[in-house]
Symmetry: C2
């Protein structure tokens, strides 16, 4: 029953050898999206340090980074190990460090990758410095700055920033400051995204300046989010931008105005398995495990349910009026946005559709492989990627 | 950097060799939950055909089924293949069939497993019969009945049921009727769950009787959902019950009144990585990939956010008042339900907590392994399971 790893190459998406649900990527759109960020960062005069958590794939990372050695950003140590094995030498693990994880950080660093960590308290800085003193290592750490109150970090004016840097000095090393303008996800207009980018820049530069006034070197001044990367006008004082979801884009980003729907590169291939004729519904074999439970477009101008339904070529059906209204674990329920019933004869059993996701990152995560499509919609390559958190898994080497 | 597969056995959950987030299972609670369903089904005089989609693990399935050969229910063909490889001989793939999948169904059947499929239309029945005529096989199919309008199936009084059976006769074989009382998930009281169970039984028995009057044999009359399994009073005419989430239970089931919180067997082990002192928040390293985006308790009496926070031993902290209020991909934000600020000193960096999920199935799905814990909270066994949809993956054999 086993198939060779690359036997899907050359097939079109109606071929039954392609099992559904499957995560598919339009290579042309992907390429345009990757180029977009490179161009933006060049124009802004900053380094692009892409966040690889959206796809977790080496094949994409290699094209996304400015060099095969990085720089890059990751969200788990499983990603860090995987990309380090593939030769990335400059990485930030951009989630606050837990002391239990330092052992693995050390292993990855000793294997030749300059993996940097993140923290936002004197407590964490002391734990890291103590670890470094015990092991004789010097782990570089960035201080997380909170520019918009959406998650972690010290506010830019908080004097504790200097205290954290001092605590790091006793063993570890200050590598810089980092912020993520997660608040930009709630912007209602392009102008407010520009304002979020200004606020992100002003905050991180203020934090860096506070540290420099206190006598610290601050080599990295890192900002990032896809919306602020897309619309920032001035990044003076910033050294690098991290962004990730732009590689695929998604309906959430489309609603925000960051990219049009036809730039969304990743979607879920599904097969029609039934109808509820009395209700005008169509049932497909992609449910909440295939799409994720993400309902983030619910609070946006257009609520796409669990996704926007396209034909097998990736074109929204009937001008974009069919959505995945509901899900069970392996069932997706399609309805017209207008409430008008869908006609069963337009969706025969066995018909394949592609569903654009609300949020690319959780949607891509559970698939063993992702299928890269050429311009004609044929499988060009089967991409392996990291799943889960298990650093010692050999799955990541499975290609 | 690789570790042996079983080197976690014997460790307690504070050991740094256990990476977080991790999915952990209290074996004693699991055992009680598995026994509960067996006892219920014996009392009701019906066969238990557990749904294995909650955990997708052979180790648990073997204890959950009434025999190592089944019967069992699965939600993907990847699960079907995995459990068939482990020796299950009687399985229902309880998601409407797509014609493209018949090839794989055949392969699994030829390998010795009596895998049955599901459909709810003349259109699908014809496709299956045509396939059988072409290949010379006789695939057994159940007709899906919709007793409460929540998803797929024909309503019990729909005369098309007989037409579907007729269409199956030309090649395939009618194996029975099946329904899932998914509507029971919306019940507001135990009495209304009992009513849902009556409605489920009445509907499926009516459908079976319609077929029998038309001259068909209906060997399987299958109902199922964890709530109706828990509270059904009479299953006369039903031959089997399918249920799945009871193996772990979860906050959604607790809110429904199906099981108390202390029966929830599966949780996510997470580590404190920071604080937002001004907001009284604690940040942990389990975000929406670790917990899933499921927010199903939002529409229930108690909204647990993304989960209820327990200490490392699994006891709700401060009487159950700490929840995971928000998530990012790899961040969880803990708050008190009461709005009162959490004290950072009660949650030092590096502290481990366990978070009970809203919905066990999507939470368990992304983990490479699940850790089974003994009474003392030490790792007893590392359980491998199926992930994703790739039937040809060899991952499922990874134990």
């Amino acid at each position: 029953m086993m198939k060779n790893k690359h036997e899907l190459v050359g097939l079109d998406l109606n071929d039954e050898r392609i099992e559904t649900p499957a995560f598919v990527i339009d290579d042309e759109k992907l390429e345009a999206n990757l180029e977009f960020a490179k161009t933006r960062c060049r124009a802004l005069g900053v380094t692009l340090r892409p966040h690889l958590k959206t796809h977790k794939s080496w094949t994409i990372a290699e094209r996304q980074m400015v060099s095969p050695e990085g720089p890059a950003t990751v969200s788990t140590l499983a990603e860090a190990r995987y990309f380090a094995v593939h030769g990335v030498k400059d990485m930030i693990y951009a989630v606050g460090i837990a002391p239990q994880k330092l052992r693995i950080v050390s292993e990855i660093r000793r294997a030749g990758c300059d993996l940097k960590i993140l923290l936002d308290s004197v407590e964490a800085a002391k734990l890291v410095s103590d670890y470094c003193l015990r092991t004789g290592e010097t782990i570089p750490a960035l201080i997380e700055i909170d520019v918009d109150g959406h998650r972690s970090g010290l506010t830019p004016e908080n004097p504790d920033i200097v205290e954290v840097a001092k605590a790091l000095k006793n063993g570890a090393r200050l590598a810089g400051v980092l912020t993520h303008a997660g608040g930009s996800y709630d912007c209602g207009s392009i102008e407010s995204i520009r304002e979020a980018a200004r606020c992100e820049r002003d905050g991180i530069v203020a934090a860096a300046e506070m540290l420099r006034r206190a006598g610290f070197e601050v080599p990295i001044v890192s900002v990032g989010s896809t919306p602020t990367m897309a619309f920032a006008e001035d990044e003076t004082g910033v050294t690098e931008i991290r962004a990730g979801v732009y590689a695929f884009f998604d309906l959430f980003m489309a609603n925000l105005g960051v990219a049009p729907i036809d730039r969304i590169a990743g979607s879920v291939l599904a097969t029609v398995i039934g109808h509820q004729k009395a209700k005008g519904q169509v049932i497909v074999d992609a449910g909440f495990l295939a799409m994720s439970r993400d309902r983030s477009t619910q609070r946006q101008p257009t609520d796409y349910g669990f996704g926007l339904v396209c034909d097998v070529n990736g074109k929204p059906i009937e001008g974009g009026r069919v959505i995945m209204k509901g899900t069970n674990q392996e069932h997706g329920i399609l309805e017209a946005m207008t409430g008008e019933p869908l006609k069963a004869e337009d969706f025969p059993i066995g018909m394949r559709v592609r569903v654009l996701p609300n949020h690319a990152c959780p949607t891509a995560a559970p698939y063993r492989t992702m299928l890269l499509l050429d311009k004609e919609g044929r499988v060009k390559e089967e991409l392996f990627h990291v799943r889960g958190w298990d650093v010692s898994s050999d799955e990541a080497d499975d290609e």
